[in-house]
């Protein structure tokens, strides 16, 4: 009885105090933070990207808030782990919008998850800033296309860039090594589509599951196909490193190109000495040869005790910067709808990464070739090719 009374008295006092504060500083209510969701794959197989994305968004957020956030209003990011699972991604959109009231969401973590989250984002009227290369994410067929904005170069751009480079060096016969998922399969499909126009030929392709422990059979197969160059459409670092080692072992001594998914520190560390000259397309070069913007992000990460990995950080912060830029450009109330509308008019956007983001009503693929750099492995580092 007494304790009950005490509680209710305390509660009343607290309410009074709150009211008093609110009255004393009327501006308090106005600077309620702007909420942005981050629906990332922080566990499950895609955590390789989700965790660097989360880390980079966290440090960049502090940085951007210290620069005044959205016209003086602080930004708050609410994280949600989609566990690399489609149903969970849909649920994440639901929770971020209906409970946390976010006005935009960076995510989801994988192409498939974007496809699952898209319809729900459309229904709840909140834009998705998709940090994925998966071509289908911004397919014109998708009813929810108006609500999805890509913040990474699409796989089509990546693959064309690589194959163009290979063709330029006179490598006409290309072998493709790819991982068994949407990302990997896109590599073969796009390569075969582009072959004619680039004057090349896909002479063989060899897939492997993420967890393959030996890739020499795949390497032999591409060796026997007489490939003049190998293109690896792989984002699992151990798989890429394993294949390079296998290729050297079975005597497949031709130039190897890695897709941007491999521009990760753990791939470079894992592939070791046998990989000198290996060419990796990369979104920026955060780890080894950063641009001024990337340098800043890399310093922020190191100050927070994180080791930059090289891919997730850049696309993740692209999303954050784009969301803040869109919010800044809105004159009236900031809602999911007004964020979406603002994004379609964003162009020339500069984030920490290289390249300029630009969306229009018809094109939701924000970042293009200018975001990419060609690198070569030299002395256990990725050296930006001039």
């Amino acid at each position: 009885m007494t304790s009950n009374q005490t509680t209710s008295v305390t509660r009343r006092l607290a309410i009074c105090a709150c009211l008093g504060l609110t009255l004393a500083w009327p501006s308090f209510a106005q600077v309620a933070p702007l909420k942005i969701g981050a629906l990332l794959s922080m566990s499950g197989p895609a955590a390789v990207f989700g965790i660097p994305e989360r880390d980079a968004i966290t440090v960049a957020l502090e940085d951007l808030n210290s620069q005044g956030g959205v016209n003086g209003r602080p930004v708050q990011v609410i994280f949600y782990d989609d566990r690399t699972d489609a149903a969970e991604a849909g649920r994440g959109v639901n929770q971020l919008v209906s409970r946390d009231q976010v006005v935009a969401i960076i995510g989801a973590g994988t192409g498939g998850n974007v496809l699952a989250a898209g319809p729900i984002a459309m229904r709840l009227k909140v834009p998705l800033l998709a940090p994925v290369g998966t071509i289908a994410a911004t397919d014109k067929k998708n009813a929810f296309l108006p609500w999805v904005f890509r913040v990474a170069p699409s796989d089509a751009v990546n693959i064309r860039t690589i194959l163009t480079d290979a063709a330029k060096d006179g490598n006409k016969r290309i072998g493709v090594f790819y991982q068994e998922d949407a990302y990997g399969k896109t590599g073969v499909d796009v390569a075969e589509q582009l072959a004619q126009s680039l004057g090349i030929q896909v002479v063989g392709s060899a897939p492997a599951p993420y967890t393959a422990t030996d890739l020499t059979a795949q390497a032999i197969k591409l060796r026997e196909a007489n490939a003049q160059a190998i293109f690896m459409q792989v984002s699992v670092a151990s798989l890429g490193a394993g294949f390079v080692k296998a290729a050297r072992q079975v005597g497949l001594n031709v130039p190897i190109y890695g897709s941007s998914g491999l521009a990760q520190k753990s791939f470079v560390d894992g592939v070791g000495a046998g990989a000198e000259g290996l060419r990796v397309l990369s979104i920026g070069n955060l780890v080894y040869d950063p641009s001024p913007g990337e340098k800043k992000l890399s310093d922020l990460l190191r100050a927070a005790g994180k080791v930059p990995q090289g891919w997730g950080e850049l696309v993740g912060t692209n999303g954050l910067v784009a969301a803040i830029a869109a919010a800044k450009s809105i004159k009236g109330e900031i809602t999911g709808q007004s964020m979406r509308d603002a994004m379609e008019n964003l162009c020339g956007l500069e984030a920490y990464a290289r390249g300029k983001g630009c969306w229009t009503k018809d094109d939701h693929d924000g970042w293009r070739e200018d975001a990419l750099v060609f690198t070569e492995i030299a002395n256990g580092r990725l050296r930006t090719r001039k």
Binding site: M42, S43, A47, I51, R54, Y80, D81, T84, D85, A86, A87, G90, R91, N94, Q95, S98, R99, G111, G112, L115, A116, G118, P119, T134, A136, K141, N142, A143, E180, D181, A182, Y183, G184, K185, T186
Partner: protein
């Protein structure tokens, strides 16, 4: 009275479901409840095949995936109605499950489990590679929502309804000669053969039925998420649903449902991200250590006492020795 006893589980499920449905207000929890409900259905299918017939299957999630793709393909490629999809989502997994069982049921239980694992891998490969039909690695998006269960709350009602129907069917089967035969052959196949049970046919039929339950769950999944991809209903989920069934009590009709709710809610409550697996695995070991026959195994004696207090027992003629005292 007898009828009520036979259908005690579905009655209890109905009661719990209505209570839940009335209590749930938060849209996020409704969404969680829908997904838990779908997983509970797959876990129920484990209850039937593993808990009753003793056949450990690690292909229940792929059976659900087949159900989801069946209705997804009918909906996306042919614009067919979800009801046509439902027929496909039941028949295809049932047929596949039945055929697989005919092939491997004679093997020892672990080999059966491995065979189901192989089937799961084959299903996954077919889904991934049959681009023109399944959408390949990218998956099928734009599966039509159900017109008569458009909002998550309505969908939740639908899931509950399906669960209650499935439980009622499950109970019907258990109370029949087939249910008794399944329990016998789980315990001892030779004993079942001596009763005149065609062991292979009965276990295969039960396995097919269990696959059909999973297929229905897949149907619900596809129309709820509106997207299905090759990684969605995979081996991880197959293992999760076995855990759900075991934690709740696989041999109890309602065990898998209880397990699904407990694990589902637990997953929401646990701190997310990197360390989630540590808590999940730890909790799992703890539950297994404490509850031998699952949570319902703990609850049963307690529950029986409560039931005796509430429901008057049917008049029973006391056996002679009792009368004498």
């Amino acid at each position: 009275m007898k009828q009520l006893r036979n259908h005690a589980n579905s009655a209890a499920a109905l009661l719990i479901a209505v209570l839940f449905a009335l209590l749930l207000r938060d849209p996020v929890w409704i969404d969680v409840a829908v997904v838990i409900g779908i997983q509970a259905l797959i876990a129920l299918s484990v209850g039937l095949s593993f808990g009753q017939a003793g056949l450990l299957s690690l292909a229940q999630a792929p059976f659900a995936a087949i159900g989801a793709y069946a209705t997804g393909i009918i909906s996306v490629h042919y614009g067919g109605s979800p009801l046509a999809g439902l027929a496909g989502a039941i028949m295809l997994p049932a047929l596949l499950g039945y055929l697989l069982a005919r092939l491997v049921i004679r093997l020892e239980p672990l080999a059966v489990a491995l065979a189901t694992l192989s089937l799961a891998a084959i299903v996954e490969v077919v889904i991934r590679s049959w681009d023109s039909v399944t959408g390949g690695y990218v998956g099928l998006s734009g599966i039509s929502p159900l017109a008569w269960a458009a909002s998550p709350r309505e969908y939740f009602w639908l899931v509950l309804l399906v669960i209650v129907i499935v439980i009622a069917l499950y109970e019907n089967l258990l109370a029949s000669r087939f249910g008794r035969a399944l329990n016998t052959l789980r315990h001892d196949r030779a004993r079942a053969m001596a009763d005149g049970v065609p062991v292979v046919a009965v276990s295969s039929a039960a396995f097919g039925l269990s696959a059909a339950f999973a297929g229905v769950a897949g149907w619900l999944y596809a129309h709820y998420v509106s997207y299905v991809g090759p990684g969605d209903l995979g081996t991880h989920l197959s293992i999760s649903v076995v855990l759900m069934a075991v934690i709740g009590g696989a041999s109890y009709v309602l065990g898998p449902v209880v397990g699904a709710i407990v694990l589902g809610v637990l997953m929401r409550m646990l701190p997310a991200q990197e360390l989630q697996g540590l808590f999940y695995g730890g909790t799992l070991i703890l539950i297994l250590l404490v509850a031998r026959d699952g949570l319902l195994g703990i609850a049963e004696p307690w529950f029986a006492r409560a039931l005796r207090a509430i429901v008057p027992q049917p008049a029973r003629v006391a056996p002679e020795d009792e009368r004498r005292t």
